[in-house]
């Protein structure tokens, strides 16, 4: 039972990171019905930038929390610039092209971003400075650390902030209108190009924070960390129902829990034929299962094929 609770805690922590990344996929998808294939790389860049800043500031004797905050604050604009660039270079010129064209150009961007990161941060695994001392708290037999609590709290705050923005501001209304029907929204005076750009910017900012969280959680960063993370977050978005904000949150947390419990128990269920090294398979199995049996996801509204 303790192991169960422990895996649940780990799953929710990781899942809340997935949720924040998944929000980026789902927002972009909601607006332009395209998968932002390079979104995972934006998360990676966020982690890398934060890593550099934190490493530089760590010996300065500042309070650890401030150092991490500084890293995040630098990572956000960098990621936003990349997100904006992605939209301008890979997506906007191809808005009227067949769907596969922007996907392929986004794959190109993602290769470029990865290898630029390789040039800057090397191809090695980078130890993320653990300047916040991990303090365990005991819940029954299970342990939750202050880092985990911080990650969950930050994710919740970001999701709440995003929800407020989307459902309570003029900008959010314009975004939802564009998602519903870009032509009509355009006729009603919404500047579609601006809304799409803003969506990429917000998604990138979320990605930056997610990068810092995932770096702090695992304690390492790597120039290829973005693709797997991105893929999992995308699966989370699909699980929740792509284009649906609460769906991305639910999907992220669920996927984290499925992964953690799966990795924790697969050995028991398969007589140790399979072990926790199969953890990464669960996300894909969930993805394929959802797409095959319920393509609209758990909370999805859009029905079927729009093309």
């Amino acid at each position: 039972m303790d192991i169960f609770i422990q895996q649940l805690i780990n799953g929710v922590t990781l899942g809340s990171v997935y949720a924040v990344v998944a929000l980026g996929y789902t927002m972009v998808y909601g607006i332009i019905q395209l998968i932002n294939f390079a979104h995972g790389e934006v998360v990676m860049i966020g982690a890398m930038v934060a890593f550099s800043v934190i490493t530089a500031l760590a010996p300065g004797g500042w309070p650890p929390l401030m150092v991490v905050a500084a890293g995040t604050i630098v990572a956000i604009p960098v990621c936003m610039a990349i997100g904006y660039g992605l939209e301008r270079i890979a997506y906007r010129p191809l808005r009227n092209a067949p769907r596969l064209a922007p996907l392929i150009s986004a794959i190109g961007m993602s290769i470029i971003l990865q290898h630029l990161a390789l040039l800057v941060w090397s191809r090695n695994f980078i130890a993320f400075p653990q300047i916040i001392k991990s303090e365990p708290y005991h819940i029954g037999g299970a342990i939750i650390t202050n880092v985990q609590i911080a990650i969950i709290a930050t994710s919740v705050a970001m999701m709440a902030g995003l929800a407020l923005m989307v459902y309570r501001t003029r900008l959010g209304t314009a975004m939802r209108a564009t998602a519903q029907n870009p032509q009509v929204a355009g006729l009603m005076g919404v500047d579609i190009n601006r809304i799409i750009a803003v969506t990429f910017l917000i998604a990138a900012a979320l990605a930056a924070v997610a990068g810092v969280m995932v770096g702090s959680y695992y304690g390492i960063a790597h120039y290829q960390m973005g693709s797997l993370l991105g893929l999992k977050a995308f699966s989370a978005a699909v699980l929740g129902g792509i284009g649906n904000l609460p769906g991305a949150m639910l999907g992220g947390v669920l996927l984290g829990v499925v992964e953690a419990l799966g990795a924790g128990y697969i050995g028991d269920f398969t007589n140790n034929w399979f072990g926790s090294n199969y953890q990464d398979v669960f996300a894909f199995i969930v993805l394929i299962a959802v797409l095959v049996f319920r393509p609209t996801g758990l909370l999805g509204e859009r029905v079927g094929d729009r093309t």
């Binding site: 067949p98 769907r99 398979v281 393509p295």
Partner: protein, 353 residues
């Protein structure tokens, strides 16, 4: 086509044939390494042609295509190496590998081919990763794949007393192992090219075109779109499996490292760069991109050394940056590729939704 002089075509084809036959000996002058590089280029041509059936003909983006290559490679390696102490002949293992890849293609395709294009892309990507994860981990509790260490000492092709892995002198010419494989690969490639072109210009090829253009209309014309797409997937997968088996034999060693996501993306870029749907374009794309790292190694390296006294950026990284850039620029400025197929060109240029 009709206006061309048939005699001229035959002369041209004859010259190309002589060039292809003489090529390995010319390359061997520069070093056996170049023959090997050419052999790998042919493997990439085979992969690109196989993926082209899926992406170019049927219009389905498969980002996990390398998984079929991996399956073919592992089937060959496990059935012809000391790992299980099995040494089956290649004319059995090679087709069997293609068959296994084909089977997996059907297993993956059957439930997922109803999905819309970009979802399918992600699902296939996930499939590619699943296969790699299994190859990496199926070493315990029963050692099937030997995990990350991979399988080594894989048998070369042998036919009676003729061993592709050994050098020998025939008709006064020195046939090294890579040269022998070159001729085998060349023959397979020609068969695959003819197969592909014939498929394209057939009832099946037309059905793929119809599905790619408008699925609803294709269905109304009596085309069973699900099975025709599955057929593309299965044929593409078997080409991949076939290439994988040959890779195993030529390389003599395989590990999951050879079948990472980047490899899938590389094959996609070959197809995209050359021209989706056009067999000659796809071949051009594969040849260009597989020689790119070598060319870079012999150009970028010396330039960097002379400028900075040392190599700052590895050619591999430059190659990947160029890949990425090429994909972005091609989609933007020449979406139908360097040698576009006429139909795809119209599709990619004119469609406004």
């Amino acid at each position: 086509m009709k206006g061309r002089n048939p005699a001229l075509i035959w002369v041209g084809a004859g010259l190309v044939a002589i060039a292809l036959l003489a090529l390995p000996f010319a390359l061997a002058q520069a070093g056996t390494a170049w023959v090997r590089i050419t052999n790998f280029a042919i493997l990439y041509v085979l992969l690109a042609l196989g993926l082209n059936i899926v992406v170019g003909f049927a219009g389905l983006l498969d980002l996990g295509y390398i998984a079929f290559y991996a399956l073919g490679a592992y089937v060959y390696a496990l059935l012809a190496s000391p790992h299980f102490n099995l040494h089956l002949p290649f004319w059995l293992t090679l087709p069997f590998g293609a068959l296994v890849a084909c089977l997996f293609g059907v297993l993956l395709g059957a439930p997922t081919l109803k999905l819309r294009g970009d979802y399918l892309a992600i699902v296939t990507l996930g499939f590619g990763e699943i296969i790699r994860i299994f190859l990496n981990n199926l070493a315990r509790p029963v050692n099937i794949t030997n995990g990350p260490q991979g399988v080594s000492r894989i048998d070369p092709f042998r036919l009676g007393g003729f061993d592709f892995g050994k050098s020998e002198t025939l008709f006064g010419l020195a046939f090294s192992a890579p040269i022998k494989y070159y001729y085998f690969l060349l023959a397979v490639m020609i068969v695959v090219i003819i197969t592909t072109i014939r498929l394209q210009n057939s009832r099946i090829g037309r059905a793929w075109e119809a599905v790619r253009e408008d699925e609803t209309a294709a269905r109304a014309m009596g085309i069973d779109t699900t099975s025709i797409k599955l057929l593309a997937f299965a044929i593409g997968a078997s080409f991949g499996g076939l290439a994988g088996g040959m890779f195993s034999a030529i390389q003599g060693f395989i590990s999951p490292e050879s079948f990472v996501l980047v490899e899938s993306i590389m094959v996609v870029s070959m197809v995209v760069l050359g021209g989706m749907g056009n067999v000659w374009g796809v071949i051009l794309g594969a040849v260009l991109l597989s020689f790119a790292p070598e060319v870079l190694r012999y150009t970028v390296e010396p330039v960097q050394k002379s400028l900075f006294g040392r190599s700052l950026v590895e050619p591999e990284v430059i190659r990947m940056l160029l890949f990425g850039l090429a994909m972005v620029l091609i989609m933007r400025f020449r979406p139908a590729g360097l040698l576009p197929s006429a139909v795809r060109k119209r599709e990619l240029a004119e469609r406004k939704e």
